[in-house]
Symmetry: C2
Subunit: 162 residues, 2 copies
Amino acid sequence: MTPEQIMVDVAIANWKLTIKRATSLFDGLTDKQFFQHIAPGRNRVIYLLGHLTAVHDAMLPLLGLGERQHAELDNAFITTPDGGIESLPSVADLKRYWNEINSLLLEKFVALTPEQWLERHTAMTDEDLVKDPTRNRLSVFLNRTNHTAFHLGQLVLAREKK
Amino acid sequence: MTPEQIMVDVAIANWKLTIKRATSLFDGLTDKQFFQHIAPGRNRVIYLLGHLTAVHDAMLPLLGLGERQHAELDNAFITTPDGGIESLPSVADLKRYWNEINSLLLEKFVALTPEQWLERHTAMTDEDLVKDPTRNRLSVFLNRTNHTAFHLGQLVLAREKK
């Protein structure tokens, strides 16, 4: 295996682990817990589930891997803060979208060659990439892995204290 | 630049960004805020600062990059949960350790070649690495970046709500 392929595999393993931890957490909560706030006056669990799902869905076009599956989530979970929209999708639907989008992304990720990982993402011009070759698909990927970990740190607060 | 060098640079840029965000957050808090809990009954900010500092300090021997600088932090911030130890180091000292350890780590990270990033970490045998070549320095590095992001997600809760 080439060094660059091992590096890609490491990054994908790290993403998978983070997604797995978040999914296990969501699967372990009762429906009622999805309407709890992670801390007083802060986001509810359902908002963070919808937010992560929308952000991951947006990775498809951003990384040039496909079309949005659920662009309708952006209004409720990205543009509007928690509490701003009365009628949200059900927890069951959001969990289904979360799993479907992450499966689709993973399928696309494992099919990319190391060279493709180093190509620019679609929000960048070719000129930008020449100036800074680190602004590529891999960069977005590591950034989004961190984003999931960031919110996972908040989501664990919704679990019962041991 | 080789593909594997670009990949290493991407990983380091991602680490630097995460450390910078955490450091800015710590620098923006009052001393009093370090003794606030991130959520009712959960860790205090000072504990998370000490915890992240101790975990980063432990990366030095784990990645074969040097000796522990502050192994004395483990008892208060890793082995013992928050509240278990009466007398903690001062916030000023912890912030200094945090900056010193991260500077030292960064110096070591940028000096590693891509090949060295793919060498095993010291908690692994050569045999383990043959079985799974993704368990290397880079793997620990991405994992620790996520760990910082995870706690950063909690630390932002200590800031005033806007």
